[in-house]
């Protein structure tokens, strides 16, 4: 039996009509209050603060809402329903709404705080996304059935997938991606929205705890590399994979396995050399400092060379177009090490030991007499030419097979270039290198070198090149004129090349 109340209490039931709700939470709160009319009063005053009628009604409502009325005796049940009826207690009470119950949006805002209109918009979008997902599933099912050449059990018609269907699916995926982003801030990458990639299960990069040097990747880098890992592991060599490698190379040209993979695809698909080179040339100009690009080029040349090796004209044409592209690269950076390394390779592979190559290098030295890369390449094409040079002759040793007129020509060339800028060490080194290769004495350029030094050690001393002084040391040592050599070294350390004082002093001790 519900207890009878003693003493009269004031009515606590709010009788004012609630104002229009502004937010989702407010609306839910109002519904809650409407289904729990006594709850607010009880919270405020406690059970004993309610009037007898209210208290009875409140306790009765507990029985009603928990569905335990049948545990009461028959009489008590009858009494209860009578009271309930009189107090018009709502038969169902809703639980108190929790602000977090609606979840958060992509900005971390509680959806409970949404305005009602905004909330309805969101609900519409969720519905829209669900519909699109169903349609997309149907597309996939149809595609699967079409690929298996299945027939519709009811109509007996074959399943077909038209180009329009595919286009429609692409549009649908775009809409889905936009909705996913809008609703959940989830980016669907360009591969997951593309039906052509549906059959690939991407392998995402796992980033274990403790990972160092994490990089803020561009948006689609993570997605595209997860597809790359999947197709690489499956050893798929197809046109779509070729495109995928392009995409990844554009973001990370130093990815060391994507290039190997690309080369394998090219071999499998038998991609024409010219197509690949056209693409590669652009990439090379975009990423000047990348090494993998030039290694790839070398693999391509190795791969295609056997197909043209029998036709000297074709080899010559290819060599010439390769030289043209290298010159284009060298305009951007005349000392690009990768380009020069490839150039050496190309000279050897394609037999570019001709006048054209020498002329091209002379042109570069004319443009910039300080271009040491060009000087090095000249030394290579002159002294490694298989037409006369001894195979395997070391760069720092005499090669008796080099014709005297070539040694003469190169000595004169170096002398002429030194005159242009006597403090430029490149041609000085070249001159010495030529003399050693040619088995000539350093003394053969004594007079020439002495031109750059006047009255050494006297008040009227003039030095036009510290490298000339440096070279004179070796010339005088060779001639056994130690005192002269020592004077050169002293003057280098004291005045003309003081930064290397320690080195020059050491050299004096070796005389």
């Amino acid at each position: 039996m519900p207890p009878k109340g003693k003493g009269a209490a004031k009515a606590k039931i709010p009788d004012s009509k609630p104002s229009e709700p502004q937010t989702v939470l407010q609306r839910a709160q109002q519904v809650y209050e409407a289904t729990n009319p006594l709850e607010a009063a009880r919270e405020q005053h406690g059970l004993n603060g309610l009037s007898t009628v209210e208290r009875t009604a409140y306790i009765n409502s507990e029985f009603v809402s928990t569905g335990t009325t049948d545990q009461l005796g028959k009489k008590a049940q009858k009494e209860l329903w009578k009271q309930v009826n009189e107090a018009s207690i709502p038969p169902r009470k809703l639980p108190k709404p929790k602000p977090e119950a609606w979840g958060k949006d992509k900005y971390g805002r509680n959806i409970a705080e949404y305005g009602l209109e905004q909330f309805h918009d969101r609900s519409d979008k969720i519905l829209q996304l669900a519909t699109l997902k169903l349609d997309s599933k149907e597309f996939r099912d149809t595609r699967y059935r079409a690929s298996r050449k299945l027939k519709n059990g009811l109509t007996g018609e074959s399943y077909v997938l038209t180009d329009e269907d595919i286009e429609a699916e692409k549009e649908r995926r775009k809409e889905m991606a936009a909705l996913m982003d809008d609703l959940y801030g989830e980016k669907m990458g360009s591969y997951s929205v593309d039906p052509a990639w549906d059959d690939v299960v991407p392998i995402p990069q796992t980033e274990p705890e403790g990972a160092l040097a994490a990089i803020a990747y561009p948006e689609d880098y993570a997605e595209s590399t997860s597809y790359l890992r999947a197709v690489m592991a499956a050893k798929e060599y197809s046109p779509r994979c070729l495109k995928l490698t392009e995409h990844i190379i554009s973001m990370n040209p130093a990815h060391y396995t994507v290039w190997l993979y690309r080369f394998a695809i090219i071999q499998h698909l038998d991609i024409p050399l010219l197509d690949e080179l056209t693409w590669l040339n652009e990439v090379s100009l975009d990423f000047q400092k990348n090494y993998q690009i030039w290694h790839h080029r070398q693999l391509l040349t190795d791969h295609y060379y056997p197909t043209i090796a029998g036709t000297p004209d074709q080899v010559k044409r290819f060599a010439s177009s390769e030289r043209d592209f290298m010159m284009e690269m060298l305009i951007e950076d005349a000392k690009n090490y990768h380009v020069w390394t490839y150039r050496q390779y190309a000279v050897r592979k394609l037999g570019m030991w001709d006048e054209d190559e020498l002329r091209s290098i002379s042109g570069m030295i004319n443009q910039d007499v300080r271009n040491n890369s060009a000087w090095s390449h000249r030394f290579f094409i002159v002294f490694s030419n298989p037409a006369y040079a001894t195979e395997g002759s070391h760069a720092t040793e005499h090669d008796p097979a080099i014709p005297a007129e070539i040694v003469d020509r190169e000595v004169e060339y170096a002398k002429e270039k030194i005159k242009l800028a006597p403090q430029n060490q490149s041609p000085w080194n070249y001159l010495k290198g030529v003399l050693v290769k040619g088995g000539r004495k350093l003394g053969s350029v004594r007079e020439y070198t002495e031109q750059y030094v006047d009255d050494l050690g006297q008040d009227t001393e003039q030095v036009r090149s510290s490298h000339a002084l440096d070279q004179l040391v070796d010339i005088y040592v060779e001639a056994g004129e130690k005192e002269k050599a020592d004077l050169c070294l002293r003057r280098l350390g004291e005045k003309w090349d003081r930064i290397r004082l320690g080195y020059w002093e050491w050299k004096r001790t070796t005389l």
């Binding site: 403790g210 160092l212 803020a216």
Partner: protein, 453 residues
């Protein structure tokens, strides 16, 4: 000017704690290298020898690498180990276990069928990092390389060597060796071999040392420098790699009679190389830099120096000596090749190579420390800490670490205040190098006897 260690510490702490900006995306395949530069810098800035301790101070501050982080950093490095030997450059190159399905008939073990994901540079950096992260205790030494598969790695390393003696950076399933002919790989191969193989044992696991030495010997050029391979252009960085590689081969020999045997055999003309290297230092003038500034790109990794245009023609008479600076030089940088502008990292490559060559040609190998130091501290040290590649360039982890390495190397036993003593061959602090060596001893003590000798 003094080295502002507080700023450098802040710079590296930022790199350690935060995500690197997207410009580093092209380094995604070599995150182990980035990790190495950051942690090696921490180590060099906070080893016991980094502090000039007062007579009464007994305790040195703790390492900048937090002790609590070390286990998970080690675990990360080891997570990049490849099952068929070597290490992958970054998580980008690690495939999940379930999709690997190779089998090594010789070793009779399951291996990955993606051996190309293991990379020689990554392997070198991983072994250095494990040494840097080891703690000083006996247990620390024992566990340094405990989980490194030395047999698989040495077998893999052997497969990277080409018939001409050079090394590639990776090897594919079919045995194709990838990567250029590059002196850096020779250096890394020698170091990996030294750590994992031991001095005299494991002949079956060894690569062909004689061919490697011969390859390096052929790479010396007519001007005395060393190129990436035969008849290329001489380059100070490759000079360091060859010299250090040869020196590490000698270290493995422990031949008291001929301590520099490989060094002597691998460089045809040592005095010419020393001459080439000492010539890399030159006076720095602001005008020169201004002229070249605009031509330089924004690359972090390559050399992209422009050059002043040469306008002389062949009719130009011998000009009077005007370009030679006879004043005392206050600031002098180093170039990697002839007629290129100075770059922070070449102070390291040149000073490091010369320091090692001192064993072969004592007395000849000095650099001008005061002016070389001034170039780094006054010209490329950045206001936010770290070093840029060139003057007034933003810092990057590579140049920032090698800037510190250069200062420590030029200082030698005199020490640069705030930096530890430096091991020039391994390019890490002396204490870390000692930990590498101790870890190595344990590797060898526990190694199965596989030699045929």
């Amino acid at each position: 000017m003094e080295l502002d260690t507080a700023r450098h510490i802040r710079y590296f702490q930022r790199c350690y704690k935060s995500v690197l900006p997207h410009h580093y995306t092209a380094n995604d395949s070599s995150r182990l290298a980035l990790a190495y530069f950051i942690l090696a810098a921490f180590d060099l800035l906070s080893s016991p020898s980094s502090y000039t301790s007062a007579p009464d101070s007994s305790a040195t501050p703790p390492s900048l690498i937090p002790a609590a982080d070390r286990p998970r950093l080690r675990a990360w490095v080891l997570s990049l180990q490849h099952r068929s030997g070597g290490f992958c450059g970054s998580p980008q190159h690690v495939l999940p276990r379930e999709i690997r399905r190779g089998y090594d008939g010789e070793l009779r073990v399951q291996t990955a069928d993606d051996p190309e994901n293991a990379n020689i540079a990554a392997t070198y950096f991983a072994l250095m990092l494990l040494g840097i992260l080891a703690d000083e205790s006996a247990e620390g030494a024992a566990s340094t390389y405990r989980h490194v598969d030395r047999v698989a790695t040495l077998k893999w390393l052997k497969r990277l060597q080409r018939p001409d003696g050079s090394f590639g950076e990776l090897v594919q399933d079919d045995g194709t060796i990838g990567g250029g002919r590059d002196m850096r790989y020779c250096y890394m191969a020698s170091t990996i071999r030294w750590i994992l193989r031991g001095n005299h044992g494991d002949r079956i696991l060894d690569f062909d040392v004689h061919k490697l030495v011969a390859y390096m010997r052929r790479s010396q050029t007519f001007d005395g420098g060393i190129a990436e391979s035969e008849m290329g252009e001489s380059h100070a960085g490759y000079g360091y790699c060859a010299v250090s590689a040869l020196s590490i081969l000698d270290l493995a020999e422990e031949d008291a009679e001929e301590p520099n045997k490989s060094l002597q055999a691998g460089i045809a003309d040592i005095p010419a190389l020393v001459h080439y290297l000492v010539c890399r230092q030159f006076a720095y003038t602001d005008e020169e830099e201004d002229e070249e500034e605009d031509e330089d790109g924004e690359n972090e990794d390559g050399e992209n120096e422009g050059e002043p245009p040469e306008t002389l023609t062949t009719d130009t008479p011998i000009p009077e000596m005007a370009t030679l600076s006879i004043d005392y030089v206050n600031i002098a940088g180093f170039s990697g090749r002839l007629n290129k502008i100075p770059d922070t990292c070449y102070t390291w490559w040149v000073a490091g190579a010369l320091r090692i060559l001192d064993a072969a040609l004592p007395g000849a190998t000095s650099v001008d420390r005061a002016s070389g130091r001034a170039f780094l501290l006054e010209k490329t040290q950045h206001v936010i800490g770290g070093f840029g590649k060139h003057v007034d360039r933003p810092p990057d982890v590579y140049h920032s670490y090698l800037g510190l390495a250069a200062l420590a190397t030029m200082a030698g036993d005199e020490k640069e205040a705030g930096l530890g003593l430096f091991d020039v061959r391994l390019c890490i602090g002396k204490e870390a190098a000692a930990r590498v060596a101790r870890g190595r001893d344990f590797v060898l003590a526990g190694a199965p006897r596989t030699e045929e000798a």
